[in-house]
């Protein structure tokens, strides 16, 4: 049985595991180990602070093991539950807690939904292919401007523009990537950073697309159906009664949230399928050792370009959807801070691991809104939270096991000469590939 095998193998080596199961008794050493990485002055308060992260890591590990043991039916049931949960999210009751200071439905659509879609796209580039892109906002902008220009000047419908926007941003990804993907690491980061700025500044200086004033009067998507959620139980209790989820107007943010949700689900399926295909294996090899990948016969340049184009296409889709709701866009919507925030979401959540990346995007979008009551201190608090997270979980909130192994190797200096098995992170790494 698969179950037995995986529990047996887990017992090899990992100190956080007893009888094949992580135990809570192991938490304190784990927290101490985390705190031990802090500078001395921080260490005393570090132990209690490290504790929640150790708990999170353990829960994530437990869940991952449990998930690995489930059959297809159970997994599908859970996917189904997650989607139902997402459908219920716009409920007023949820909003009351999640967003006391702003319109919850609006917030769910953007930034929360938008950031999640963008983070999934950037994760293809950063998390899967291992390319550092600091100008990802450019593709979001290209999608937005495609929507605005073709909607206001040519009268195209949203769905046509969605297709066009995806194609145009993928094309711009190829145009950016073709000359630059021969660069590595820092150089690529700088060139992409420049590209993000060029797109924004070019938009500001182009009169045809409104210069600094941008474009307004962008049409909403056409109504797909007038159907309305009935004003009866259970919908009244759930706080969803009266929504017309497929009718896109100016007032209600919820139909746009459902549109974004659909885009996210489709994208997840697409990206997951890629990840487990030959393409995904090629990306993983490039991320882990580009020269070795080429030596294995992987056309590295072609696959890096593909990662860029696919990431760009997803960013473009997010841009089109955002533009169709926003009614007007200006170049200032597309500043570098968006690229930085989405990258923070990916790294914070656990680069390369889709649930982690989505969690990261959610937190990065939601925390600043949730603490709006702190007024001018909120960005300071937000920054503090990010710093804490990176101190205690440098590999991200929900890293992939594989990424842990890569990081362990990275810290091992030259290659991993000797690769002595050390702390708990390296032990966990030994279980990759099951």
């Amino acid at each position: 049985m698969k179950t037995n095998e995986s529990t047996r193998e887990r017992t090899n080596g990992s100190p956080t595991v007893t009888n094949g199961r992580p135990s809570f008794a192991a938490l304190t050493p784990r927290a101490r180990d985390l705190a031990g990485r802090l500078p001395a002055a921080l260490r005393a308060p570090g132990l209690p602070l490290a504790f929640p992260f150790a708990v999170l890591g353990l829960v994530a590990d437990l869940f991952r093991d449990w998930w690995g043991r489930q059959t297809g039916y159970v997994r599908w049931a859970i996917y189904g539950l997650l989607i139902v949960g997402a459908l219920l999210l716009p409920s007023e009751q949820v909003g009351g807690f999640m967003s006391p200071y702003s319109d919850w439905a609006q917030l769910l659509f953007f930034p929360i939904g938008g950031y999640i879609l963008l983070a999934i796209g950037l994760n293809v580039v950063v998390g899967q292919a291992g390319l550092l892109d600091l100008g990802y906002v450019a593709f979001f902008a290209i999608g937005g401007y495609t929507m605005a220009v073709f909607g206001t000047k040519f009268g195209w419908s949203f769905w046509e523009i969605l297709v066009l926007g995806v194609l145009l941003s993928a094309l711009s990804g190829v145009i950016l990537g073709a000359p630059t993907l021969r660069l590595r690491g820092d150089y690529l980061a700088i060139v992409t950073l420049g590209f993000g700025e060029i797109i924004r500044i070019a938009a500001r200086n182009t009169d045809y697309i409104g210069g600094p004033n941008g474009i307004s009067g962008i049409p909403h998507p056409p109504t797909l159906s007038e159907w309305t959620v009935p004003e009866s139980e259970p919908f009244t209790t759930l706080g969803l009664a009266g929504i017309a989820p497929l009718k896109y107007g100016a007032l209600d943010g919820r139909p746009y949230y459902y549109l974004m949700l659909a885009a996210i689900v489709v994208t997840i399926i697409f990206v997951k399928r890629l990840e487990s295909s030959r393409v995904g294996r090629a990306w993983a090899s490039i991320r882990e050792d580009e020269d070795a990948a080429e030596l294995m016969g992987v056309p590295t340049f072609k696959f890096k370009l593909a990662a860029f184009a696919i990431g760009a296409a997803i960013g473009g889709a997010a841009g089109v959807i955002y533009g169709s709701q926003a009614t007007s866009i200006i170049p200032r919507n597309y500043e570098f801070i968006i690229s930085a925030t989405i990258l923070a979401a990916v790294v914070l959540g656990g680069s390369g691991n889709l649930p982690g990346v989505m969690l990261g995007a959610f937190l990065v979008a939601w925390i600043p809104e949730r603490i709006r009551g702190l007024q001018e201190y909120r960005i300071l608090v937000f920054g503090g939270v990010l710093v804490l997270l990176m101190i205690f979980r440098p590999e991200g909130l929900l890293p992939s096991r594989r990424r842990k192994a890569e990081l362990a190797e990275g810290t091992g200096g030259m290659g991993s000469l000797g690769a002595e098995v050390g702390g708990p992170t390296t032990h966990a790494a030994a279980e990759v590939g099951k």
Partner: protein, 256 residues
């Protein structure tokens, strides 16, 4: 000739790393390229496998000019390499690393897998372990096994003894001989000249980007200059190179 390198020049920016290297490898041979640190051995191998472009010269493989062929296409042509520092994919399991080795190939892999596991029983025991957590010796075995998965005509090995304990070096070298006896041509780059010359048929000596000697391996073992420079020989302390020699045989952090 299976592999023919004709007067190649390779630059890093403006710096010339190879200043006209020529060498030949015939089918079935073990040829070794020995030289001190920084002489240009790795650059030579990278140029053969297509990771570095050449600024002048020509590389012919199996009768075809491959000088401008992309690196990933040279794998299909029949060039396999175990790179310097081993280049293991740290997050992939041993089995996945081996499968990556056959990425360019289609069809059934079970025969090659079985052969690799037979050559390196250690890898068979560790199929599920992440490459990055293997010891240095195991990683070297994995790097060689992975290169074999593509069924190369010529196997390029870049310092397989680097950082390994002497016992393990012996073992790796005898496996290289075995691979050769089974029909794979080998081009072996080494600082550990003593060991390399013992298993090779022919040898080239490289110094600062130029070939300074080429002869049958047994002859070089007895060559006084080579003994002095690369074999920690009996002519006292030769300049510069002596400093590198202990590193080549030292027991690195990798243990087995």
């Amino acid at each position: 000739m299976l592999l023919e390198i004709n007067d190649i020049h390779v630059h890093y920016g403006k710096i010339a790393a190879l200043k006209g290297i020529s060498l030949e490898v015939d089918e079935g041979e073990i040829v070794t390229l020995i030289g001190a640190n920084g002489a240009g051995k790795t650059t030579t191998l990278k140029t053969i496998s297509g990771l570095r472009p050449l600024s002048a010269g020509r590389i012919t493989f199996d009768g075809k000019d491959i000088s401008r062929l992309a690196g990933h296409k040279r794998v299909l042509a029949g060039i396999g390499q175990s790179p310097e520092g081993r280049g293991i994919f740290p997050g992939m399991s041993v089995a996945d690393n081996l499968h990556m080795g056959a990425y360019a190939r289609k069809g059934d892999l079970s025969k090659e897998l079985a052969e690799v596991y037979e050559l390196f029983p250690r890898l068979a025991e560790r199929k599920g372990q992440a490459g990055g957590t293997m010891s240095g010796g195991e990683q070297q075995m994995l790097a060689i096994g992975r290169a074999l998965m593509a069924k190369p005509k010529v196997l390029l090995l870049d310092e397989p003894s680097m950082g390994l304990a002497p016992m393990l070096v012996q073992q790796i070298f005898s496996i290289i001989e075995k691979i050769n006896e089974r029909g794979t041509t080998v081009l072996l780059v080494e600082q550990n000249a003593q060991q390399a010359l013992q298993i090779a048929h022919r040898a080239y000596v490289i110094e600062t980007g130029r070939i300074v000697k080429s002869a049958a391996a047994v002859d070089l073992l007895d060559d006084p200059e080579v003994r002095a420079a690369y074999l920690g020989g009996d002519l006292g302390e030769p300049e510069s190179i002596a400093a590198d020699e202990p590193a080549a045989t030292a027991d690195g952090p990798a243990k087995d």
